[in-house]
Amino acid sequence: MLTTDEKNEIEKAISIVPIRKSACIEALKVVQHHRRWISDESLKDVAAYMEMSPEELDSVATFYNLLFRRPVGRHIILVCDSISCWVMGYEKIRDHLTQKLGIRFGETTPDDRFTLLPNCCLGTCDTAPALMIDKDLYKNVTIEQLDEILQKYS
């Protein structure tokens, strides 16, 4: 069941498009914002609300990199693996993170604290290597800084 808050936020998105189901990506974003990820059950609820079949909505949900159809941790670490960061040594950052957290890309720590994901160019190539945790962008990242950065997130 969608909550009243979720419904209100989805209605706002519906109000600016001429076709109800055109707001379906916004609706998925709303649900993910409240529930961290989009379960099968959430997907069915959103589909019903948007007057779509679950299959049609899932074809959209599974297309986009940042709509999560599997459970994720409390914090999402996005490591830029695109060209400028690769040139500037992203692999060291990746290796340190996977070792420190004991997880590979696509996995979540057992305590649910972090999900580690690779990510396309974060658009801050002059300060590569870069990574993003939730909404916080970190530039010119060094291995030495990483431990300190991770401590900010509980």
Partner: protein
């Protein structure tokens, strides 16, 4: 040297508020237009200015606008493509975060020129600071009467919405962007019909890049002759150039079109890091051809870079130095393209992962003699005309030029069965 787009960017990079923007002449162009310029006269002015799209393709902005049917049918749409996701590109972010009202004024003027009544900023999800800045600026613009009903008493109405994406490179392609905005998978549409005729929800639509739109208020204030004089060559205006990779001072600078690659790297980016030599560069994001040492004096404008066998693209250089493996460099690019292929057309969906795997095996020391032929096969069969959209041809640009300029390095990997750089 004039820097119309960036001269008012604050040192602390905080967004310019409405009051600050108005103090330096902000919304003067809008007042001028609303006092009595016709939509057609704006289209003609922008055509005369010879402004070319700053998103990568370099198509004439005024010409693009002129394809929108001139009638009173509603709705019509104007969309700012702020989905900056080309690897190595970080120019629109600066404009979005620091001068949101410049973009909004540019959008209102452009919307008026094509008589659009609805507008969207299609913003990349990762640009959280930009989202806050644009959200606030749209709110301020409504409060000041620059958006909404009867703008500045002119009788012209325009609404503006901010849409943040959910991550997919394809969304930067304008017809895929329209599908995404309609709540669909971001796959490209067949052209024709072009979006100018049948775009968002089947209505006439213009999609322009952020940097393109930010130029419009200045062209209206200062005229097309002024815009011509900004550049050093036949391609008019300034450009936000960037440099990333192993240079001393990576960064972005607004400079006249037509400065040389050598000037940009040496005078602005501080030259190569100590102990490293320039080996090559992609002049405008990931989907363009390499330029090498013999091209250092090529003028960075659309025409000259094309004559040198590449494309200016987004104008943000990615530098390849002599201590970085060119095969690994290209493998990183092809892996990106393979991941981001939308999967809609077969050659791109199947071909790009194949290319990426071949490059990986060469890089890991398992390359075979026939791999070079296979790679060359793909540069032809994933090239222009063989795929549905420009993603795969774009992916082949750095590959085919790398084979051309760095063939010995590829062959050395295969002969020695290892990466000489590791």
């Amino acid at each position: 040297m004039e820097k119309p787009l960036t001269e008012h960017i604050r040192e602390d990079r905080r967004p310019f508020s409405l009051k600050e923007y108005e103090k330096v002449g902000g919304y003067e162009a809008l007042r001028k237009v609303m006092k009595g310029m016709s939509p057609k006269s704006i289209v003609d002015l922008v055509k005369d200015s010879n402004l070319r799209g700053r998103g990568g393709a370099g198509f004439s902005t005024g010409l693009k606008w002129s394809f929108v049917p001139q009638n009173n049918s509603k709705p019509k749409y104007l969309i700012a493509n702020a989905d900056e996701m080309e690897p190595g590109t970080f120019k629109d972010r600066i404009l979005l975060e620091c001068t949101p009202h410049q973009l909004i004024e540019g959008m209102i003027l452009s919307a008026f020129a094509i008589q659009a009544d609805q507008s969207f900023v299609f913003l990349r999800w990762a640009y959280h600071n930009a989202a806050d800045a644009i959200h606030e600026a749209i709110h301020e613009a409504y409060s000041a009467g620059y958006l909404g009903k009867n703008i500045l008493g002119s009788g012209y109405d325009l609404d503006m919405h901010l849409h943040t994406g959910v991550g997919r490179y394809m969304c930067g392609e304008e017809t895929a962007l329209l599908n995404s905005l309609e709540g669909k998978r971001a796959i490209p549409r067949a052209k024709p019909p072009f979006p100018q005729i049948s775009g968002l929800f089947g209505k006439p639509t213009i999609v322009n890049n952020v940097e393109t739109l930010c130029n419009i208020p200045h062209i209206i204030n200062k005229g097309s002759d002024w815009f011509h004089k900004l550049s050093l060559t036949q391609d008019t205006g300034t450009k936000i150039f960037g440099v990333s990779g192993k240079v001393k001072k990576p960064g972005a600078w607004e400079l006249p079109l037509g400065i040389t690659m050598r000037e940009l790297i040496n005078e602005y980016a501080g030259g190569m890091q100590d102990g490293l030599k320039f080996k090559g560069a992609l002049p405008g994001g990931a989907s363009v051809e390499f330029l090498v040492e013999e091209h250092l004096d090529v003028k960075l404008d659309y025409t000259s870079v094309a004559a040198a066998g590449s494309r200016l693209g987004t104008g943000t250089l990615i530098i390849l130095d002599d201590k970085t493996c060119p095969v690994g460099f290209v493998q990183n690019l092809e892996y990106f393209f393979a991941q981001e292929s939308c999967g809609f057309c077969t050659p791109c969906r199947e071909g790009l992962p194949w290319v990426s795997k071949i490059l990986s095996s060469i890089d890991e020391g398992a390359g075979r003699e026939e791999d070079m032929k296979l790679l060359e096969f793909h540069t032809k069969y994933l090239g222009p005309g063989n795929t549905f959209c420009a993603l795969a041809p774009g992916a082949m640009a750095p590959l085919q030029s790398a084979i051309k300029y760095f063939r010995k390095d590829f062959e050395q990997h295969i002969h020695e069965q290892k990466c000489p750089w590791k």
